[in-house]
Amino acid sequence: MFRATSLECSGEAVCDTAGGVLKKEASKTVRALLVELPVYAVLVVVYFLLVLHLLGDWLGGLMKTHPIAYAGVALALVIGQALALDGVTSLLLRVLRRRTA
């Protein structure tokens, strides 16, 4: 994961030495993000079709019959997806940054 090399420099338009490093890092990150977007989009479409499509009816039934279980599952799903996607996006970004470097 990208980390700014000099916080002292952030926010200033021109910052000779550390600022130069920061700008180079930033452009690398932006390039990697641009490559990451289409890769991520493909993964998301596959995810929609495979997982969410299959889960729909089961979750609908659970909400009507066991609301407490549904509330727990809903929270677990959203936090679980957050952690999983965070891992995927970080991994993609790291791999792409290494390739575009």
Binding site: E8, G11, E12, A26, V78
Partner: protein, 307 residues
Amino acid sequence: MIAMFFPISGVEISPVYLVIVGFIIGVLGGFFGVGGSFIAGPALRAVGLDWHFAVGTDLAHIVGKSVIAARRHRALGNVDLRLGFIMTFGTIGGAEVGAQLIQMLKRAGNVNTVVSYVSIAIYVSISAFMMWESWRTLRQRKGRTTAAKTAARDESSFRHVTRAIQRIKLWPMIALPASGVKAISLWTIILVSFIGGLFSGFLGGGAGYIRMPMLVYVLGIPTHLAVGTDLFEIVISASYGTFSHALKGNVDILIALVMHTGAAIGAQIGAIATQYFAGPKIRLAFVPLPLIGAAIVAYTLLTGHKL
């Protein structure tokens, strides 16, 4: 656009639309530490989702987005965990009181009018104050040398009030070393978090629009840390809200999960972007956000149409 059927709420919505909305809210959340409910709620209602589903689903989506953004900020050293855990008590207490106030107003039959006027007043006040403060701070910075600017890169024109609040000796006093606060009354922190939770329960969403400014101006937390710690609090208040709304059948978790796929990448971009801006600039850029919320509520009040 291809529409996808969501069996829980019984609506057909384009997943592309949901992903784009999630992405925009993700960027805003990662950068400003807000949940983005003032955009997500109207965006969901605009595609035909019932009001109660819009509120509950928005909260569920906020949980996922804030988990990512808070983790990002934690990695950047922008979360004061000690402060965050202390604030949890006030946040949950405030959220419950806010929800009870809504129930009272519902019984009195004027919930929409009261909530609308209160939210407009709050949104406009926050924007006006932050614009005044950050503009003044940036003007003061102009005349200084680069070294002086670097030394005080997160200064605030409101600092004298913050210092006066920090001097209130109401036992127990605690230190927040991660935020550079040597001593502050525990009750001040609880009060700030209680107010944040109260607005979260009363107006919906994570209430980052009020908690983030209070962390900076009342507790004296540096802006970058305030953004990260606020996100941590939003995870807690929104999780509590999601569970409570899901029990009442107000959450379509599938819509939240689809929105969240966009927010995941947006939050990452927003969090990275904070590293390129000084505190007063982040605060100045924050100004239009509550105004957008106020404009949406005013439109709904004046026209009777829900956005």
